[in-house]
C-alpha cells in the first residue's frame, strides 16, 4: 500500500497536541484508545490481541489479503467462491460443521469479500476461543476442495446472482455505472462475478487461488474480548504455528494509471419503475492527505436529513424520491458516488442542476463553523461506532493493518478528520468535483 504520509505535518500536529493537552481532540483520543498486543509468527501470520472483558465474549477475525482484483485471467467471481467454499469443510471439519459448531454455542459468524480483502469473523462465548481457533486453523491449513463442491458452489452463486438481480431492479445499472467509473482498473467487475464468469471457473483455478492466497503470511488474525493474553498467545501458537507459508508473500496486482474522462450516458432499464441517475467522481484514496477533507465533504453533502443534498432534493425542492451516496473506497482509489431516483423525467434534470449548484457552492463559499461542527459530530459518531463491540474493533484493526497502516498511528486518524478546516474544503472541492465526472441517466423502457 502506498502511503501519502507527510511525516513533517504529523510531527507538527503531534507537537500541537502536546502543547494543548486539554484540546477536545486529545480528549477524544484518550477515550477511544485501547491497549493492543501485536506480533508475527514465524510463518508470517500477523496477530493482534486486545483484552475487553466487559462481557464474557470473544471476537475472532481472520482477514486474508486477497479479493476480486487478484482474480487473474478473466476469472471473476473466484475470490467470492472461495469465501463460500471455506464453509464447506476442511480436513477435520465436515460440511456445515463450522456453522453448526458456532451456532450450538450461541455464537454468530459471517464473512465478507471486498475487492482487496476477505474477512471471516465470529463472536462466541469467551470459553470457546480454542474451538474457533481450531476451526479457523483447519480451513487455513487444509481446505477440502473437490470438483463436486466447486460445481455446487457455482450453482449456489449463480442462483445468488440471479436472485440479487431480481430483488434489486437497479443492480444492473449500478454495475454498468461501475464499469464506466472504473473502466481503466480491475474494479470494473462485480465481486460476486457474472453468471457466465462463474460458469468458467474450474476446480484447478480454485485450488491454485487457495494455495496462493489463503496462507498465514498473507493473513491477519485479530482476537478481542474477554481473553487472558498469555494463554491466547499460547493457543494461537498451538493452532497456527505449523501451518506452512508460501515462502513468498504474493504481490498486489500492479496499480494502473488512473485517468477518467467526463461523460454522460443514457441507459434504458427494463426493470426500473422510476427514472434516476448516477453521478460519480474519482477522488483520492483512503489515508491520503486529501481523503480527510473529502470525507467531511461527504458528510456535509449527504449524511443525515439536515445534510445539504438531502435538504435540497428531498425537503426543499422535493425532486428526488430517493437519494443515497458517499465515498466508496477501494484499495488504491476512491470514488464519490451519488444515486438519485426521481418521480419523473422532468424533475430529473432539476435534481441534477441542484446537485451541481450545491457542489459549486462548496467550491466558492466557506462552510460555516456551525455546519462544519455538525458534519464532524456525525462523523465522530460513525467513527466511534467502529469501537462499539469487540467484533467492530477487530474488523477495524484488521482492515487498517491490511491497508498498510501502522496501528500505532491509528489513534491519530480521527483527529485528522476532525482537523479539517472550511478553507480546506474549497480547495479540495475545486480539485475533485470537476467536469471529469461520469453521469449515467436511467431511462425507463
Amino acid at each position: 500500500m502506498i502511503m501519502n504520509r507527510n511525516k513533517f505535518s504529523l510531527l507538527v500536529f503531534t507537537l500541537y497536541l502536546f502543547f494543548i493537552p486539554l484540546s477536545i481532540h486529545a480528549q477524544i483520543e484518550k477515550k477511544l484508545q485501547f491497549p493492543i498486543t501485536q506480533y508475527t509468527l514465524k510463518n508470517g501470520l500477523r496477530v493482534i490481541l486486545s483484552e475487553d472483558g466487559y462481557l464474557p465474549l470473544v471476537s475472532v477475525v481472520i482477514a486474508y489479503n486477497v479479493g476480486s482484483i487478484y482474480e487473474k485471467d478473466g476469472k471473476p467471481g473466484l475470490a467470492y467462491m472461495l469465501e463460500n467454499l471455506m464453509f464447506q469443510g476442511s480436513r477435520n471439519v465436515g460440511r456445515m460443521q463450522h456453522i453448526n459448531f458456532i451456532h450450538r454455542i450461541g455464537g454468530e459468524f459471517n464473512a465478507m469479500t471486498t475487492e482487496s480483502k476477505t474477512f471471516f469473523y465470529q463472536t462466541v462465548p469467551s470459553n470457546q476461543l480454542s474451538l474457533v481457533l481450531w476451526l479457523e486453523s483447519d480451513r487455513m491449513n487444509s481446505l477440502d476442495i473437490n470438483a463436486s463442491k466447486v460445481e455446487q458452489s457455482k450453482n449456489t452463486l449463480i442462483e445468488e446472482v440471479i436472485r440479487r438481480k431480481e430483488l434489486d431492479p437497479y443492480l444492473e445499472s449500478s454495475l454498468y455505472f461501475d464499469k464506466l467509473l472504473f473502466s481503466d482498473s480491475d474494479y470494473s467487475h462485480p465481486v460476486i462475478g457474472e453468471e457466465e464468469d462463474i460458469e468458467k471457473i474450474t476446480v484447478e483455478d480454485v485450488k491454485k487461488f487457495y494455495s496462493r492466497y489463503y496462507t498465514p503470511d498473507n493473513a491477519v488474525i485479530c482476537i478481542i474480548g474477554d481473553i487472558e493474553k498469555n494463554r491466547t498467545i499460547e493457543l494461537v501458537k498451538k493452532y497456527f504455528k505449523t501451518i506452512p507459508n508460501t515462502k513468498e508473500v504474493p504481490n498486489s496486482p500492479p496499480l494502473k494509471p488512473i485517468k477518467t474522462k467526463g461523460m454522460e450516458i443514457n441507459l434504458e432499464n427494463y426493470l426500473a419503475s422510476l427514472p434516476g441517475f448516477y453521478l460519480g467522481y474519482r477522488v483520492s484514496p483512503p489515508y491520503s492527505d486529501d481523503y480527510y477533507t473529502l470525507s467531511i465533504i461527504e458528510y456535509i453533502l449527504l449524511r443525515g436529513k439536515s445534510s445539504r443534498l438531502y435538504n435540497r432534493l428531498m425537503k426543499k425542492d422535493r425532486t428526488a424520491f430517493r437519494l443515497t451516496g458517499g465515498i466508496e473506497e477501494k484499495k488504491d482509489l476512491a470514488v464519490f458516488k451519488i444515486f438519485v431516483l426521481n418521480n419523473n423525467e422532468l424533475v430529473k434534470e432539476i435534481s441534477q442542476k441542484a446537485i451541481f449548484s450545491e457542489i459549486n457552492k462548496l467550491k466558492s463559499n466557506l462552510v460555516s463553523e456551525k455546519e462544519l461542527k455538525k458534519a464532524k459530530n456525525i462523523f465522530r459518531r460513525d467513527y466511534i461506532n467502529q469501537y462499539s463491540t469487540p467484533l467492530n474493533k477487530a474488523l477495524f484493526l484488521t482492515d487498517a493493518l491490511l491497508s498498510g497502516i501502522d496501528l500505532d498511528d491509528l489513534w491519530d486518524e480521527l483527529n485528522k478528520f476532525l482537523s479539517v478546516k472550511s478553507r480546506d474544503i474549497i480547495g479540495i472541492a475545486n480539485r475533485y468535483f470537476t467536469d471529469e465526472r461520469i453521469l449515467l441517466n436511467i431511462k425507463l423502457k
Binding site: 464453509f87 464447506q88 456453522i99 465478507m112 465522530r380
Partner: protein
C-alpha cells in the same frame, strides 16, 4: 477504512446453507498433529456480570434508570411510554404509532427540520418503535451533549406543535411505508397470522391497513398524546458513562415541569389460542416462492412456560441444526429456509414456524411441519437436543446486550413487562433448570397442534392446494374474499 462497516456485508448464511449434503471428504496425505483431529474442550463457562442498574423516580412520577458503561463516548437514551398500540381507540388503530412518529416533527419554537438539525449537530440519531404494549424512543448522541439532548427532548414532549402540515407529511410517509410492505411476503404472512390469532383482542390494533391513516387528525392525535404521554406513564433509561445523581439532576432540570396526571391502568386477560386448524391463503402476484407462517398463541413471558418455550423453539426451529431445518431443507429439499420463532408480549406469546418453500410442495411442507410439532407432543425431546439448545441460549445471551442500544432495549422491555430479575440476573440459572420433562409439559399445555396456517404465494399456487379440506382466501389487506372447499370444489363467497 471506516467505510468497511458501511459496506453492509452480505449475510452469507443462506448461500452457505444452500449447499447440498456432500458426504465424501477429500483425502489428505500429509500427516497432522493429533490435536487437529477433534474439537477442543471448552474452558469453564465464564460468569456474566451485568452492570449495576440504578433507578430513581422524579417527583412527577417519571422513572429514571442509569446503566453505567464506560467504554464509549456515547450516551443512549431510551424513553419508554408504557402505552402501545393496544391502547389506540377501536375506530382508530395505528394512532399510537402515528403519535410516536409525530413526536420529533416540530415543537412550538422548533420546526421539524430544526429538530433534525439539532439532533444531528450532537452526533445523534432518534427513532421510535411502537409495540402492542409500549412505545420506545431511542435517542443516541455524543456524551458531551447530554444537556442539549435533554433540552430538545423536553421541547418535543412539553411543547409539541403537531402542525397540520407535518401531520399531512407524516400521514403520507406512513401510507407509503405500509404500501411498500404490502409487497413483502414475510410481512404479509406475519400480519395475517397475527390478525387471525388476535381477532377480537386489543393487540389486533397493531395490524392496521393504510386505509385508516386518512382518519388521523390533530384533535385525535392530541387526545391520545395528552392522555398517555405523561411522566407517571413513562421511564427514561440512560446508558453511558454517567451516574444516577448527575442523570437525575439533569433529567429533572429539563422535565420537572412535565405534569403528572391520572391514568387508568389497563389489564387484559390472556387471549385464547386457536382451537381448530385453519388454512388461509393470500395472493402475492408473481411471487416465485410460497411463504408459510404457522402458529398459535402461547403463555406470556411471565409464566413458567417461558424458559421451556425458549428451549423448545431452539430444538424445533431455532437454527440450521434444528429439526425443521434438517427435515424441510436438508432432507426433503422442500424449503429455502424453515425456522421457528417465539415472540412475547405482556399478556401472551406467539409461537410460529416460518418457511419459504417451492409452491408445488406447499401441502407436503405443511404436513412435515405439523408432523414435527406432533412428534414433540408425543415423544420427549432427547437430552442431547435439550442441552444443545440450552448451550445456544446461554452462549447467545451476552450477544443480545452487547451494544448500548441492544442492552437498553432489553432492559426497557423487561421494565415494560415488569419481568423482574428472572430474565435478567437469573437468566442463566433459569435456562439451566429446563429439562425434557418441563419442555414436554409445556408442549402439552399449549395448543400447538391447532394452529392458524398462512400461505402467501402467487395465485397459481392455489392449484397445489386442491386436496386441502378448506382454504380461506384473503386479499393483501387481510380481508376474507372467499372460501374454497374440497367436497364440491366450489368457491364460497
Amino acid at each position: 477504512m471506516r467505510n468497511l462497516l458501511w459496506k453492509s456485508p452480505i449475510l452469507k448464511i443462506f448461500s452457505i446453507l444452500l449447499f447440498p449434503l456432500i458426504l465424501s471428504q477429500g483425502s489428505f496425505l500429509f500427516p497432522q498433529e493429533s490435536f487437529r483431529k477433534s474439537p477442543p474442550y471448552p474452558d469453564p463457562l465464564p460468569e456474566l456480570n451485568l452492570p449495576k442498574i440504578e433507578s430513581f423516580f422524579l417527583s412527577n412520577g417519571l422513572g429514571l434508570s442509569v446503566i453505567r458503561r464506560k467504554n464509549l463516548p456515547i450516551i443512549n437514551l431510551n424513553l419508554i411510554i408504557l402505552t402501545g398500540e393496544s391502547f389506540s381507540p377501536e375506530d382508530l388503530p395505528g394512532i399510537a404509532t402515528f403519535t410516536a412518529n409525530m413526536l420529533s416533527k416540530g415543537s412550538i419554537n422548533l420546526s421539524s427540520s430544526k429538530i433534525e438539525e439539532i439532533i444531528e449537530s450532537i452526533g445523534g440519531t432518534f427513532s421510535s418503535f411502537t409495540y402492542p404494549d409500549f412505545t420506545v424512543f431511542n435517542f443516541s448522541f455524543l456524551d458531551d451533549y447530554l444537556d442539549e439532548a435533554l433540552d430538545v427532548l423536553s421541547r418535543m414532549i412539553l411543547q409539541p406543535a403537531f402542525s397540520r402540515q407535518e401531520i399531512e407529511n407524516a400521514k403520507r410517509s406512513m401510507f407509503y411505508e405500509l404500501r411498500n410492505n404490502n409487497l413483502d411476503a414475510e410481512f404479509l404472512a406475519r400480519r395475517l397470522l397475527f390478525r387471525l390469532l388476535f381477532k377480537d383482542y386489543p393487540y389486533k390494533k397493531a395490524l392496521y391497513n393504510n386505509d385508516i391513516i386518512k382518519k388521523y387528525d390533530r384533535k385525535r392525535l392530541l387526545n391520545f398524546f395528552n392522555k398517555y404521554y405523561i411522566p407517571n406513564n413513562s421511564r427514561i433509561i440512560l446508558t453511558g458513562n454517567l451516574n444516577l445523581s448527575t442523570a437525575s439532576r439533569k433529567v429533572s432540570r429539563y422535565l420537572n415541569t412535565w405534569r403528572k396526571k391520572e391514568i387508568k391502568s389497563l389489564f387484559l386477560e390472556q387471549p385464547s389460542p386457536c382451537e381448530k386448524t385453519k388454512i388461509c391463503f393470500s395472493d402475492l402476484p408473481n411471487a416465485k416462492y410460497a411463504t408459510i407462517y404457522l402458529g398459535n398463541i402461547i403463555s406470556p413471558s411471565t409464566s413458567d412456560d417461558f424458559f421451556p418455550f425458549l428451549v423448545l423453539n431452539q430444538v424445533l426451529g431455532g437454527g440450521p441444526n434444528s429439526r425443521l431445518f434438517m427435515n424441510l431443507r436438508e432432507s426433503k429439499g422442500f424449503a429455502y429456509y424453515a425456522f421457528s420463532r417465539v415472540e412475547f408480549f405482556k399478556y401472551c406469546g406467539v409461537f410460529y414456524v416460518q418457511a419459504r418453500v417451492r409452491p408445488e410442495v406447499i401441502t407436503e411442507s405443511i404436513e412435515e411441519i405439523l408432523g414435527e410439532i406432533q412428534k414433540i407432543t408425543k415423544e420427549k425431546t432427547t437430552i442431547e437436543e435439550i442441552e444443545q439448545a440450552k448451550s445456544y441460549l446461554i452462549g447467545n445471551f451476552p450477544l443480545q446486550i452487547e451494544t448500548f442500544d441492544k442492552f437498553s432495549f432489553k432492559f426497557s422491555k423487561a421494565r415494560a413487562f415488569n419481568l423482574g430479575e428472572r430474565q435478567w440476573n437469573k437468566y442463566y440459572e433459569n435456562i439451566m433448570r429446563v429439562n425434557s420433562e418441563k419442555v414436554f409439559d409445556t408442549v402439552k399445555k399449549n395448543h400447538l397442534l391447532s394452529p392458524v396456517i398462512i400461505i402467501v404465494a402467487d395465485r397459481s399456487a392455489l392449484d397445489h392446494l386442491i386436496n386441502l379440506e378448506e382454504v380461506e382466501v384473503y386479499n393483501n389487506k387481510g380481508i376474507l374474499q372467499y372460501i374454497i372447499r374440497k367436497e364440491n370444489n366450489n368457491e364460497t363467497r
